[in-house]
């Protein structure tokens, strides 16, 4: 449980952090956010970066603010800060609900949104919500900023669209529209609390009670999180009654040919859970439309 030796930097500005990241690329420099993915790997010596750059001293990186119909959440916001944010509870309740489903109180007090997303563990909870909300991820490189859409962010197992010297700085999500409801439903892996499968859904109804917008993000099931597009398609324009949701949820695994398999759950079971939990998430989301 003792990591290999490494150099530690605690820059005070984002620019300095980005510069350090570039400067120490050859030493496999890694960013430290809440430390709940990186540090366990280092302690088991499954990761042995020569340089660790701690983002914890950079002011403002955990701010949660609303502007122009969007809520932006600093990458260093802890799960607990998101879970307990009144602004988010009112304006984008899917995020606090997802945050509350992560790990345990200790993990939520230290782990961060940005750290979790950048690590891209296929069983982490955030990707489901981030995908369902069509979030935009703001990224700081050594010389320029750019924005990555959620749907392009997750590239493969433990791999994101971040370039080696880029830092994820904020996540922007649209304020939940009128007449919308959302839910995050997961089955916890009994040991780790990670998602065996987790499904985030947001449904917006038109004044007639038909689905104007449906978004379903699925995590844990496959090597990276995905949108259940066939399910969304099937419900759009329909009244989300029990039968319609059931039929649509059956399509949740469509287009995914490989499901994760480990000692906790087989691929078959994960596929089945994808459908069951999609049905439950959609049902809950519809019940919550306000």
């Amino acid at each position: 449980m003792i990591p290999s030796a490494f150099d530690y930097y605690a820059p005070k500005t984002l620019a300095r952090a980005a510069a350090l990241l570039k400067q120490h690329r050859r030493k496999d420099a890694r960013l430290l956010a809440g430390g709940h993915s990186l540090l366990p790997l280092m302690k088991l010596r499954l990761a042995a970066p020569g340089v660790v750059i701690d983002l914890g001293r950079i002011p403002g990186l955990n701010a949660i603010q609303e502007s122009k119909g969007k809520v932006s959440i600093g990458a260093m916001a802890t799960h607990y800060e998101i879970e307990s944010s009144d602004l988010l509870r009112q304006r984008c309740p899917l995020l606090p609900e997802t945050a509350g489903a992560i790990g345990d109180a200790q993990v939520r007090n230290r782990g961060t949104l940005g750290g979790s997303l950048a690590h891209a563990d296929p069983a982490s909870d955030w990707p489901a919500a981030i995908l369902a909300l069509d979030a935009e991820l703001e990224v700081q490189g050594p010389s320029r900023r750019r924005t990555i859409k959620a749907v392009s962010f997750f590239v493969d197992l433990l791999t994101t669209a971040l370039r080696p010297s880029e830092i994820l700085t904020r996540v922007r999500v649209p304020v939940a529209p009128e007449r919308s409801g959302s839910a995050y439903v997961k089955m916890r892996q009994a040991a780790s609390g990670f998602a065996i499968v987790g499904v985030a859904a947001q449904v917006t109804l038109d004044p007639d009670g038909r689905c104007a917008a449906v978004a379903v993000g699925v995590t844990g099931a496959s090597k990276m999180a995905f949108r259940a597009s066939a399910t969304e398609e099937a419900l759009r324009g329909k009244r989300p009654g029990e039968a319609a949701i059931r039929a649509a949820a059956r399509l949740a695994a469509e287009g995914i040919d490989e499901f994760q398999e480990d000692i906790h759950a087989s691929a078959d079971y994960r596929k089945h859970l994808t459908q069951v939990l999609t049905r439950r998430a959609l049902t809950k989301a519809v019940e919550r439309v306000g």
């Binding site: 449980m1 003792i2 290999s4 030796a5 366990p40 088991l44 010596r45 345990d104 089955m187 892996q189 009994a190 040991a191 780790s192 990670f194 000692i263 906790h264 759950a265 087989s266 079971y269 089945h272 859970l273 069951v276």
Partner: protein, 778 residues
């Protein structure tokens, strides 16, 4: 100073303030100047020959003081001991560090000693070992198949470690003459004990004084002292073992481990303090495991539900080497195979099998949970076959209260019991009939409620020395200072059981002092007379009794001196509210402090009375004790996902007299949590090549608080005649009773799906697969 009666009161644990505030001292909290630190290179292979070890780079690494291999150590230190011995048993030499071959993942191969733990760990990565991998076997039953790789080929041609049998009555005849024979196969998975504090050892050798001190997170400081003296070939009176604060053991620290011998040896050799603290991954790889039995039960049954015989044929996967009690653990399953029932025809045939895994040994319950699980599962299966209510089948076969002491078919003598009383109480709290009605109502809605009952009896208060591999007695001493403060020195070694509180309660009442004036000391072999330790739910039944008998000797002397000072007769001295006085004359009274001062000043003592006020007693129990009870689990199974929700949990336990109900309830809570853990979540998984797949708590699923409802606890009190306190023991009962209750409940829930049994742990996927077919209408 008014003193109410302490025994039986809900007194808060006096241990807790220091634990909660972080003021306690575990091994790793003890810092000696100049301490060296050990890191261990462990085998990544389940089975391999060691071709070559190159430690040169590690040795040259700055800050490294020594690097030792099995070859370097073999002439300097003895083997890791096993206290069990059966005729014909193979005992492969169990070395501190592997010599020519490794036999399981995690086996220690090279030890690095360095100025700090970081250097030591870095240097481990510089060691090169050439292994020649061999085929491995990772299941007991596989290991016994023809053609399986033989792990200890110097010991014989197969992996049979030992065989053992127990029989009573005529089971063959019972099976032949039964109306029906019900058979079932059961697999009881391997578990990791996972004490909150991992193991750790610190050793210091003072050459001038020729004194070796070893701090170890152990349950048995005295036995460890003896074993270390033998292993290290040093005089036992030069060895002091201290069990400081110990953060749980659950049986896993009832042992003598490689690292204890290694660290003690290094401290002598290097003449500097040496410390090793186990990591969690090491803890899962190389601290003993529990359970791991697979076998078949055959039960002889009459059509009216009378059970006439039971036979169990079992393979116990013991791992690659024995630890202290490895072979003895599954024999306890044999002793308790008949449970609460009048079954006089019984037999168990046990085969211990070597595998390329860590040793199994005592884990909370140690052999008895296995027995209770088998018989309680079988009773449900038989009830199902006979179309009887499982509760009625139990009642029909119970040993009646009038039949105690009751000699079982396995020749143990149950001390006392009233199984029906506990059963009735549990069913009444649970509302059994109403639950059955609710179950029927919910089934009609496609919801699956299950009700599981387990009626258990277990064997503890270990135990008579004749039946134990290394002594079953215990010691206690009671000393009164001249100022009247009392010190208890107990040979047991509490590590969560609360005896600093319960023993003080007993002494406070017995000697008439405030509980805060009683100090309970344990765990330091230089301070405390020899003792056996804490395991097998024995500390109060055996250690408490030793203390009480020592206290009675003190009390007798106190009364004699009081009578002398008060000019009365000893038989007229009464103790009330902390005052000793002659009956009828309470105004002329003495406190224990007054009397103790007189005993120590010693210029006015009764004739033939020695000065001082301290007594020691060594107590040998005449029998084990047999706690019992009924647990009822109510679960609901999610038909879509197979998830099991424990909705209610009722436990009625009878552990005899209760010293402190709060501590007893705490023990039962923890016990139920671990029993449910086995039923629902926990399993040490090795793949078929012997690689560990559950090497961290991210994969080894411990139960969590949110997994459980609030437990509904109650008790009955049937004192044991085995000791004057009437106490039986409660450390393991919760674990023993709970596992089958939960599995019975889940199988009951799945009755519409024609499910007869599910092997543990009842993971959602396993349950879901059994629910995929259409339920039959009830």
């Amino acid at each position: 100073m008014p003193i109410s009666k302490s025994v039986g009161a809900r007194i808060k644990r006096r241990e807790d303030p220091r634990l909660i505030q972080g003021l306690a001292h575990y091994v790793d909290d003890i810092h000696l100047p100049g301490t060296l630190h050990v890191a261990i290179l462990r085998s990544p292979h389940a089975h391999a020959r060691i071709e070559k070890i190159n430690v040169e780079a590690a040795r040259r690494h700055p800050g490294v003081v020594a690097v030792v291999t099995g070859r370097g150590l073999q002439d300097r230190i003895g083997l890791i001991p096993c206290a069990a011995n059966f005729p014909g048993m193979k005992t492969p030499p169990h070395r501190i560090l592997a010599l020519d071959k490794v036999c399981f993942v995690g086996e220690p191969v090279v030890a690095v000693v360095a100025e700090d733990p970081y250097i030591a760990r870095d240097a481990v990565d510089l060691i090169e070992v050439d292994y020649d991998p061999l085929p491995a076997v990772a299941s007991g039953e596989e290991a016994l198949r023809r053609g399986a790789p033989v792990i200890h080929d110097d010991q014989g041609k197969d992996n049979v470690a030992f065989t053992w049998e127990i029989a009573g009555g005529d089971v063959e005849r019972a099976l032949r003459e039964a109306d029906r024979v019900v058979k079932h196969r059961f697999v009881q998975q391997r578990l990791a004990p996972i004490a909150l504090e991992t193991r750790g050892v610190l050793a210091q050798y003072l050459p001038g004084e020729d004194q070796l001190t070893v701090w170890s997170s152990t349950q048995i400081p005295h036995l460890l002292r003896t074993q270390l003296a033998v292993m290290l070939r040093v005089a036992e009176n030069r060895v002091r073992v201290i069990a400081p604060e110990v953060g749980g053991g659950f049986g896993s620290k009832l042992n003598v481990y490689a690292e204890e011998g290694l660290v003690a040896h290094l401290a002598i050799w290097l003449k500097r303090p040496v410390k090793w603290i186990e990591g969690r991954r090491e803890n899962i790889l190389h601290t003993i495991h529990g359970r791991d039995q697979a076998g078949e039960v055959e039960m002889a049954v009459q059509n009216d539900g009378t059970i006439t015989g039971i036979r169990y044929t079992v393979t116990a996967d013991v791992g690659a080497y024995y630890q202290l009690l490895t072979p003895a653990i599954p024999t306890l399953t044999g002793l308790m195979l008949c449970g609460c029932y009048k079954i006089q025809n019984v037999a168990m045939k046990l085969t211990g099998a070597f595998t390329n895994k860590m040793a199994t040994d005592a884990y909370r319950g140690a052999g008895r949970p296995e027995a209770t699980y088998l018989i309680e599962r079988m009773l449900d299966i038989v009830a199902d076959e006979l179309n009887m209510d499982p509760v009625e089948l139990r009642r029909k076969n119970f040993i009646a209260p009038s039949e105690f002491p009751y000699t079982t078919g396995t020749a143990v003598v149950y001390d006392s019991g009233d199984y029906t009383a506990a059963l009735d109480k549990a069913l009444s709290i649970a509302g059994y009939q109403a639950l059955r009605e609710e179950q029927a109502r919910l089934r009609a809605q496609g919801r699956y409620l299950g009700i599981g009952v387990s009626t258990y009896v277990e064997i503890c208060g270990m135990g008579p020395s004749k039946a134990m591999p290394a002594g079953g007695w215990e010691s206690g001493a009671v000393r009164v200072d001249p100022t009247g403060k009392v010190t208890v020195l107990t040979g047991v070694s509490p590590h969560g059981q609360g005896q600093e509180t319960t023993f003080a309660q007993i002494v406070a009442d017995g000697l008439g002092v405030d509980i805060d004036d009683v100090r309970v000391m344990h765990g330091d072999t230089d301070a405390v007379q020899y003792g056996i330790g804490t395991f097998g739910s024995r500390a109060t039944a055996v250690g408490g009794t030793a203390m009480v008998l020592a206290m009675q000797k003190v009390k007798e002397k106190v009364v004699r001196i009081a009578a002398h000072l008060l000019e009365g007769n000893p038989q007229d001295i009464v103790l009330e509210d902390g005052k000793y006085f002659v009956r009828g004359n309470p105004t002329k009274a003495l406190t224990l402090a007054d009397i103790s001062l007189a005993a120590h000043v010693a210029n006015n003592l009764p004739p033939d009375t020695d000065p001082g006020l301290a007594e020691t007693h060594f107590f040998e129990p005449s029998n084990f004790t047999y706690p019992f009870g009924t647990h009822v689990a109510v679960v609901e199974v999610d038909a879509d996902t197979g998830e099991v929700e424990v909705k209610r949990y009722v436990a009625v336990d009878d552990c005899g007299q209760v010293i402190n109900p709060m501590i007893v309830e705490g023990q039962i809570h923890g016990g139920i949590a671990q029993g449910l853990g086995q039923a629902l979540y926990e399993e040490v998984v090795y793949d078929e090549n012997g690689q560990m797949l559950t090497g961290s708590l991210m994969d080894y699923a411990l139960p969590k608080a949110h997994n459980f409802p609030k437990f509904e606890l109650a008790s009955t009190v049937t004192p044991t005649p085995v000791n004057p306190l009437g106490v039986k023991g409660v450390g393991e009962a919760g674990t023993i009773g709970s596992t089958p209750a939960v599995v019975n409940a889940v199988v009951d829930a799945l009755e519409p799906f024609g499910v007869r049994h599910i092997d543990m742990p009842l993971r959602p996927e396993k349950v879901w697969r059994l629910m995929r077919k259409k339920p039959r209408r009830s």
